[in-house]
């Protein structure tokens, strides 16, 4: 029986003897694997980017909603809840007693009209407190944020977004000017730095006023949300329990609030983008299957080219199983070499992506690398079986008569 080292050597000699054929086959395999590596790097990079951006917003954030829902993550239900008992500013203030909570910001939300020097537009108005800026990582372009004061006082001051500032004041200084929101007048004390959007609210088009001022403006005593920040990420579960306990005690023992944590939001995005990466990997896997079919075709052509060689090997005493093994080894070798080349190509591509978009951590996940390599080698061998069997059954007399 032929030694396995000799079979390997023979297959390598056969593969290197036809560089164009071998090169094409390896290229097909390489493109398939590179596609898997590169696309999953892109998908996973996007996932990591989003997760990181969300974490930057404060992974220790806990949002309190009035009303009880069973939703674990973010869904339609978490925003449309019945309000059996309103959240109040006092509720928010009470949360500061929780040892796991460092900051609390009550939130009132509404739409109103803003006017300055005859210019008028519709804006979203947020009523909150000083802590909100720290919780949401707002940076100020000019002036300062809301003052630290009694939450029930509500001085007539406002902080406006960068876009609003641009539209209402243009190049004029805004600090110290009086703007009208609804039927009340406020002094502009700060302008937020341009930031783009975040969590569904575009901070650039917001007017932020003290929470009591907003309640007066909208003639409401309830809160839209309470934002609370836990000491750190690990303290979130304990802080949640404490918040629930405090609110339950204040609401006559009824648990009628819902808590949303950043983890739930993150988890949702993580799942969505993870599924996207998987789908992209699936699409790339199709190119691997195509590569496998190409391997089969090229091997079949190779067998036609080498018919007389197969006849000769049989005349020299090679059994069918040896012929099968030789051709299968060749197909496997080409697939492995192609897959490794593709791995290199994919990593190079991912490196290029990272160079072009430094914010995107485009690293292919390990599972994709293994799956890509595995699929390439399995398809290569699988599609090599048929040609190998065909070669083994060739009639030596016919095979030898072909020149």
């Amino acid at each position: 029986m032929m030694r396995s080292r000799d079979i390997l050597g023979f297959a390598i000699r056969a593969a290197t003897a036809y560089p164009v054929r071998t090169g094409l086959m390896m290229l097909a395999m390489a493109i398939g694997v590179a596609a898997v590596v590169l696309l999953t790097a892109l998908g996973d990079g996007a996932r990591r980017y989003v997760v990181r951006e969300f974490s930057a917003l404060g992974s220790s954030l806990i949002i309190v909603l009035p009303g009880r829902t069973e939703t674990g993550g973010v869904g339609a239900g978490s925003f449309v809840t019945n309000t059996p008992r309103d959240l109040t500013v006092d509720d928010a203030a009470a949360l500061l007693r929780a040892s796991g909570v460092t900051r609390v910001a009550p939130l009132v939300l509404g739409n109103s009209e803003i006017a300055y020097a005859g210019k008028l537009r519709e804006v979203m108005v947020i009523g909150t407190t000083r802590a909100f800026a720290d919780i949401r990582n707002y940076r100020l372009g000019q002036g300062r944020f809301l003052p630290e004061e009694d939450w029930r006082r509500g001085s007539a001051v406002a902080v406006i977004g960068a876009t609003l500032h641009q539209e209402l004041f243009g190049a004029e200084p805004a600090l110290g000017q009086m703007i009208r929101v609804g039927d009340r007048r406020y002094r502009v004390i700060g302008v937020l730095a341009a930031s783009g959007s975040g969590l569904g609210m575009n901070a650039d088009e917001l007017v932020i006023i003290p929470v009591a001022a907003a309640q007066a403006l909208f003639n409401a005593s309830s809160l839209f949300r309470i934002f609370a920040e836990a000491r750190d990420r690990d303290a979130v579960p304990a802080a949640k329990t404490q918040i629930l306990d405090i609110l339950k005690a204040r609401h006559d023992g009824e648990e009628d609030v819902t808590l949303i944590t950043q983890d739930a939001v993150l988890g949702t995005f993580d799942r969505i983008l993870g599924a996207l990466t998987l789908a992209v990997a699936g699409i790339a896997a199709i190119s691997l299957a195509v590569a496998g079919i190409l391997v089969m075709n090229v091997m079949l052509v190779a067998i036609t080219q080498r018919t007389s060689e197969i006849g000769l090997l049989k005349a020299l005493g090679a059994t069918g199983s040896i012929i099968r093994l030789v051709f299968l080894t060749e197909a496997a070798l080409l697939s492995i070499a192609g897959a490794l080349a593709g791995l290199l190509l994919g990593h190079l591509g991912a490196w290029g992506l990272r160079l072009m978009f430094p914010v995107l951590p485009a690293y292919p996940p390990d599972w994709a690398v293994f799956a890509g390599l595995g699929t390439a080698i399995v398809t290569g061998v699988l599609f090599g079986v048929m040609p190998a069997r065909h070669a083994a059954t060739l009639d030596p007399v016919d095979a030898l008569s072909k020149r």
Partner: protein, 229 residues
Amino acid sequence: MAQIELDNIQRIFQLGDSEVHALQDVQLRIDAGEYVSVMGPSGSGKSTLLNLLGLLDRPNDGHYRLEGRDVTTLSADEQARVRRERIGFVFQSFHLVPRLTAEENIALPLLLAGISPHDRKARVAQALDDFGLAKRGDHRPDQLSGGQRQRVAIARATIMQPAMLLADEPTGNLDRATGEEVTTLLETLNGRGVTLIVVTHDPHMGERAQRQIRMEDGRIDSDSKRPAP
């Protein structure tokens, strides 16, 4: 007991609707060490006979005993083993593997038999020496002359020390002088005891054999033996 015993061999090919009797009722006894030439016009069945003798083909009917063993009933793998160990082939078009060097071509049967690289090297070096190819070991077939190619092929056919050599028009692709050289080489090997069976069109070559078989329409027409000199 003869080395080769053919009894009532029939070989029928299906060509479309018609049947072609390539071999009909062939009876043949060949002793070890004989030098036999098989001649006859094209289509007379001489190549079919050679393929049958070399276990590349199976008869439709009849029995073939090689060294006393009925080889027609052996499995394909067992037949491959007999080919590997007992039979050497020499072809008209040499059938060297173009990408392999002379050395590697000669080593092929050893490779298939699973001989260790160390033994292989020694035996191939010896064969290269014996066949005057010592300086040509690392040449590929396209870097060799016709005569050298056929010598590589013969070296390959004899490297496993087979009991018989089957040559199909071994000089058909060579010029007269080189053909003469190759024929002499084959005869030398025969002189050392290997049974030599040559299929040829060339009457000059055919007449050099001690025993001449002439075929016609799949039958043995004449079988004449020259008395030993």
